[in-house]
């Protein structure tokens, strides 16, 4: 294999700055949305006392698990010694850190009291999985920065493998922790299951890789750098494997809950009668987010078409957001059954309802805050690849595959 040369992202200044300006505007709008919600309180959003985590959390959780998934590409090169993936490591680390920062920003700005972040960082209750996640998230950024240094600096090369293994274990812990935020909740019928933790790990593999593929293809295409068919084939096959994994875990999760009489009601709600949540599950999560991408990925012709691969990746991302919507919002909207078999006809004081499906519709500020977080992740990535040598100059087949290079050499 040839020596990999990394170069800054050299698109024209005007295009680069225009792109940054667009992102800055989106971030500013997101910031204003956060300020609006902070100033007035959450009652101006779609959130209620029943649905306490809304659209911002969908984006936040999605970005956080995608962050750990994006790092997976580097781990395959470093931890599992797949030389093919080594050129992709730097971008993988950068994207992981950027996505995590974007997700965390949304999470923090959606807190009731973002001004008390210092309290969250200094006062810990170690019996709370949420408190552990604060460590896991902030630690992840530090570990990824160290990992990037070992990949980018010659002095750090001897440490690449041990740091890479540590980062891999850390990312597994992070996604397990994120899944356990929901898995440890005994009070909600949709949760209280260990399977959510590994399901989130597999989801992170899929969503992180889908984002990675799109960022890689876009940045290379803009800078006229080649991505070889072999590289794309490897990446899309890996994506197909991960999407299948998500489908498998989804099937096990729902089968388990369908089997027991106690959880059949919520299953009926999600799978049959839940309105928007049922649509999001079948159309968003399963059909558009899993089956259609799998069709494109494994189709003999479409599977070789970069545009189809990009479309499949985009659909996986859409499916991921739909999955988060069903998992996070759907399970809150489903009522806590306080009086089994009885319908609460009146809920006393005004302000909320009990015993029936809680109404929730994403409000504009919530959506804008979520998009703002995505823009932050993209901004960090764009600046990172522009000023530092993160992107390989070429990912053409002869550069990344020694066999192709050898065959070409012989042919000559």
């Amino acid at each position: 294999m040839r020596r990999i040369v990394y170069r800054e992202w050299r698109i024209e200044s005007s295009r680069y700055w225009s792109w940054l300006a667009i992102l800055a505007v989106v971030i500013a709008i997101g910031g204003m949305a956060a300020l609006y919600m902070e100033h007035h309180g959450h009652w101006v959003t779609g959130m209620t006392n029943s649905v306490v985590w809304g659209t911002p959390h969908i984006f936040a959780v999605f970005l956080i698990i995608s962050a750990s998934g994006a790092l997976n590409v580097a781990s395959i090169g470093t931890v599992f010694d797949k030389a093919f993936y080594k050129p992709l490591g730097r971008l993988s680390g950068l994207l992981a850190a950027a996505l995590l920062v974007g997700g965390l920003l949304i999470l923090v700005l959606d807190l009731g009291r973002p001004d008390r972040l210092v309290v969250a960082m200094t006062t810990y209750n170690f019996s709370s999985i949420f408190a552990w996640n604060i460590f896991l998230y902030s630690g992840f950024v530090a570990v990824v920065i160290a990992y990037l240094w070992t990949m980018a600096d010659r002095k750090g090369v001897p440490y690449t493998k041990p740091v890479g293994i540590f980062a891999f274990l850390w990312r597994l812990a992070l996604t397990t922790g994120t899944g356990s935020i929901f898995g440890f909740l005994v009070g909600r019928e949709a949760y209280d299951t260990a399977v959510l933790a590994p399901m989130f790990v597999v989801m992170s593999f899929a969503y992180g890789l889908a984002i990675y593929i799109l960022v890689l293809m876009y940045s290379f295409e803009q800078d006229d750098r080649p991505v070889g068919a072999l590289m794309l084939k490897r990446l899309k096959n890996l994506l197909g494997l991960f999407v299948s994994g998500v489908l498998y875990f989804t099937l096990i999760y729902h089968l388990t809950r369908l089997y027991g009489a106690q959880t059949q009601n919520i299953e009926h709600f999600i799978l049959v009668s839940g309105g928007i949540y049922t649509v999001m599950f079948w159309l968003g999560w399963i059909i558009l987010g899993s089956l259609v991408p799998l069709f494109f990925i494994y189709h003999p012709q479409h599977g070789k078409n970069p545009k189809a691969i990009a479309l499949a990746s985009a659909l996986v991302i859409f499916g991921g957001l739909a999955a988060m919507y069903v998992l996070i919002i759907g399970s809150q909207a489903y009522p806590l059954e306080m009086f089994p078999g009885k319908t609460v006809v009146e809920f006393g004081a005004p302000g909320d309802i009990g015993g029936v499906v809680a109404p929730y519709w994403p409000s504009l500020p919530e959506f804008l805050l979520g998009i703002g977080g995505v823009a932050v992740a993209l901004l960090i990535t764009s600046v990172g690849i522009r000023v530092l040598q993160f992107l390989p100059e070429s990912l053409a087949d002869r550069v990344v595959d020694p066999h192709v290079a050898l065959a070409e050499g012989r042919g000559r």
Binding site: H40, H42, A120, G348
Partner: protein, 240 residues
């Protein structure tokens, strides 16, 4: 160990909401306040309440009954909302078992709201922290008040005395006796959270009065002499 709690008699609760309004009044003006109200007079009012009355019907028409079920934090002996709090803002007082929120430590992440299987946590959108029933902690621990007034506002306000307050760990307390002798039960005990608040079930009182019961000389229901006299001498003639 002391575990203060409410025992609510569903048999006499008439759903008048006096507990709701007195709770709001006391707590919005006190330690836990102010409790937000947004658009209180509009079509879609919203606000924070520590105590709400849920009303549901039992039976099938025409044999239906309406049950009013006042519900506030149940002050579980093993509260699931406490271990999940990342900053330790949710805590259970060791001296009296009341579950409280330290508003200065709460970051408003709302994770406790997810954990409570009874849905009793409410976010105050003005102070942007989680709130819940405090059992009027600033009132029940106020030694300057006469002892009879050291009770939650809802207990003092209930016109039918449907709400009892006391230590459920003390077997001789009024609440423990009520639970023991009148079939008191906890809401959803299957969660294993051991709710301290209990409910006394609804029951039918049926009374059969025969003519003999009414005519007996020592009949306590007899308010006046219903004997029909026909000119003979009565006790009144003798004494007057």
């Amino acid at each position: 160990m002391t575990q203060l709690a409410l025992v609510i008699d569903l048999n006499v609760c008439v759903g008048c909401h006096a507990c709701v309004t007195s709770c709001k009044q006391w707590n919005t003006s006190g330690w836990a306040g102010p409790m937000v109200d947004e658009n209180p007079y509009d079509a879609a009012p919203t606000g924070t309440f520590f105590n709400r009355v849920q009303t549901f019907e039992v039976g099938n028409y025409p044999n239906t009954e309406t049950v009013h079920f006042p519900k506030s934090c149940l002050h579980c002996e093993d509260p699931p909302c406490v271990p999940v709090c990342p900053t330790g803002a949710s805590y259970k007082r060791e001296d009296n078992g009341v579950v409280l929120v330290d508003y200065d430590k709460c970051i408003g992440c709302k994770y406790c709201s997810w954990a409570c299987p009874y849905g009793m946590r409410e976010v105050d959108t003005q102070q942007k922290v989680m709130k819940k029933c405090t059992l009027c902690i600033d009132r029940i621990t106020d030694q300057s008040l006469p002892e009879a007034e050291r009770k939650p506002a809802c207990v003092l306000a209930c016109p039918t005395s449907a709400r009892l307050f006391g230590d459920v760990q003390n077997p001789d307390s009024e609440v423990s006796i009520a639970i023991r002798e009148r079939g008191g039960y906890a809401l959803m005990p299957e969660w294993g959270t051991q709710p301290a608040n209990h409910y006394l079930p609804r029951h039918k009182n049926r009374m059969h009065i025969t003519e003999d019961d009414l005519l007996r000389t020592n009949n306590p229901l007899k308010k006046e002499d219903i004997t029909v006299y026909h000119g003979e001498e009565t006790l009144e003639d003798v004494t007057w």
